[in-house]
Amino acid sequence: MKPLLKLEHIEVKFPIKRSLLEVIRNTPQKLVHAVNNISLEVAEGEILAIVGESGSGKTTLGKAVNALHDSDVVKGQITFNGQSIFDSKGKLLPEYRKDISMIFQDPYQSLNPKHTIEKIIAEPLMIHKVTKDKVEMRNLIIEALNHAGLSPGESFLNRYPHELSGGQRQRVVIASALVLNPKLIIADEPVSMLDVSVRSDILRLMMKLREEKKISYLFITHDISLAWAISDHIAVMYLGTMMEYGKADEVIEKPLNPYTQALINVMPKMHVRRNEKRVLLKGETPNPIDMPSGCSFHPRCPKAQSICKNVKPMPDWDKHGHMNYCHFNEEASHE
């Protein structure tokens, strides 16, 4: 199947502001290596989960897909529906903005508290000049609200964000992401601010939209079990690098990469295991300004050898489309 979204060698490096003194002394420009050489595909109707710890580059990658960064910090090729999202002059194709939308993490911050729900959802419609007709506009808004499970949609039009619960607010965010009928939604931690008991409603809604409208998702989360439960594929990120990629079940049940293995080992598992031995990684994730040489994970990797320090691994793809970014491939040997 042809991928809906294709990322090739995406890199995002943010320059760090230099002080006047540093400029005068001509010290080299330092960079935050937020996303390093990521290649991925998302098929129509597919959910790809991006998991990784704080600072691993998930949001930066999501924003790159959403073309929200200054063009000079991003390198690589993004293809949507077989077409580069930028024209030959480097301008973003106008349809692309309608085809994708992004849901941000915090339902409290992503809604303007002074605007009614109607006004909030009208905004994308106005920006894209979808219609001038007032009645049609209102109908589109009501439809989006109903789709997002806020029904009857009419009853929410004149309400303000503070009059809604956290779960309802996140539904408003989803409604405004839906109103332009996107093909791909980048959902950045869409439920992590919500109580568990309301999370599933939002997730169910997202799944329903994928069934009904064939929407694809780039689902960004730090929650590995959630990624496993809802996604088709999982990409694990560490320090801006994709350490492992594959079918959700494979990555979670037979992780190949030492980083993924450690994560899965320590994640809470809903059973009593205070006396079980756990593989705690030593120390902390390094700063992406001073990237470690070789494999970025080598300073903390329990399996690291000298090659890891000196040589960057090559992504190792097996025939089932499972990728491991590591010099060693232990699990794979029993196949």
């Binding site: 710890e53 704080s54 619960s165 109580d195 568990v196 008991s197 309301v198 999370r199 599933s200 409603d201 997730l203 169910r204 799944m207 730090h222 590995i224 079990s225 959630l226 496993w228 439960a229 809802i230 079940d249 979670i252 049940e253 450690a262 994560l263 899965i264 320590v266 994640m267 809470p268 598992k269 809903m270 059973h271 009593v272 295991r273 205070r274 756990r278 705690l280 990684l281 902390e284 994730t285």
Partner: protein, 320 residues
């Protein structure tokens, strides 16, 4: 040996217009020496309020209206101001919810640690400095970092500093209010591992407040599940995980995907949390309960006890 006993605790907040919010409604639990108890429940269920009351740290508009808190068999509620001063931080201390993000950005870690130590313990500056160093070692931060500022510390390290502050006066009970909530799984595991070791060495008892049921098995001995200001179920972690009796606990547990289990979207609990300014007759969970019967809306359930496992429900703890 029992170190803390809380009985029928009721706490109210005064709201504008003479309205009252019933944040804690008859909570009872006890804590043994060396034991870790988890208070779990969703946002607004009264976890923080319960914890603050143990040190008499409630906000001004909040008050304990009924019940008793006994620390080593002595009343906390009726204690003199002086007694309370010798209780806070020295006997019971707390890592406040979100405090790791509230460190003063313009003061060094050392200064902030020393301020806490000098404030509680009336030590001289150089004694406080030595103590600050000791504490930092205890939470496994390199002492060369004492002169650094909070922004140079990662989230996990800032939380370690908060733990160091809570340990400053050698307390017997440490309360951790959502101690790992904003942290990554690996950092969370490191923090729990540290707490576990500190607990053994210092012979601490702990109360861990969390909304995340998945971490219980990594951290605690006993669990109290709170809903609308009540402990609806209490028991050993193992029993809570394997044989939850209360429909709320059962539903809450099934809100988590379990790797290795059935791969399906987790369950949700319909309805919204109770409006805590009203006290309904009947079971507070009834409007959201999938098993509610007519009696649930008419009469508050009484407590059922089976081998130390307690719950409030008209049903007999049948599974989902």
């Amino acid at each position: 040996m029992e170190i803390l006993n809380v009985k029928d605790l009721k706490i109210e907040f005064n709201l504008s217009g003479h309205r009252k919010l019933h944040a804690v409604n008859g909570v009872s639990f006890s804590l043994n020496k060396g034991e870790t108890l988890a208070l779990v429940g969703e946002s607004g269920s009264g976890k923080t309020t319960t914890a603050l009351s143990l040190m008499k740290l409630l906000p001004d508009n909040g008050s304990i209206v009924e019940g008793e808190i006994l620390y080593k068999n002595q009343s906390v509620i009726n204690a003199s101001a002086e007694k309370i001063r010798s209780l806070r931080w020295k006997e019971i201390s707390i890592i406040f919810q979100g405090a790791m993000n509230a460190l003063n950005p313009v003061l060094t870690i050392e200064k902030q640690l020393m301020d806490v130590i000098m404030h509680h313990d009336h030590l001289e500056e150089n004694e406080a400095r030595i103590r600050a160093e000791e504490l930092l070692k205890m939470v496994e931060i390199d002492v060369t970092r004492l002169k650094q500022y909070p922004h140079q510390f990662s989230g996990g390290m800032r939380q370690r500093v908060m733990i160091a502050m809570a340990l400053a006066c050698n307390p017997k009970i440490v309360i951790g209010d959502e101690p790992t909530t904003a942290l990554d799984v690996m950092v969370q595991a490191q923090i729990f591992d540290l707490l576990e070791r500190l607990k053994k060495v210092l012979e601490l008892s702990m109360i861990i407040i969390t909304h995340d049921l998945s971490i219980l098995g990594d951290t605690c001995d006993k669990v109290a599940v709170m809903y609308a200001g009540e402990i609806v179920e209490y028991g050993e972690v193992q029993d809570i995980y394997c044989h939850p009796k209360h429909p709320y606990t059962q539903k809450l547990l099934s809100s988590y995907p379990v790797i290795g289990g059935k791969k399906a979207l987790p369950e949700s609990i319909p309805g919204i949390p109770m409006d805590m300014t009203q006290i309904p007759v009947g079971c507070k969970f009834a409007p959201r309960c999938h098993k509610a019967m007519p009696i649930c809306f008419e009469e508050a359930p009484i407590q059922k006890v089976e081998n130390g496992h307690r719950y409030f429900c008209h049903l007999g703890g049948e599974s989902l």
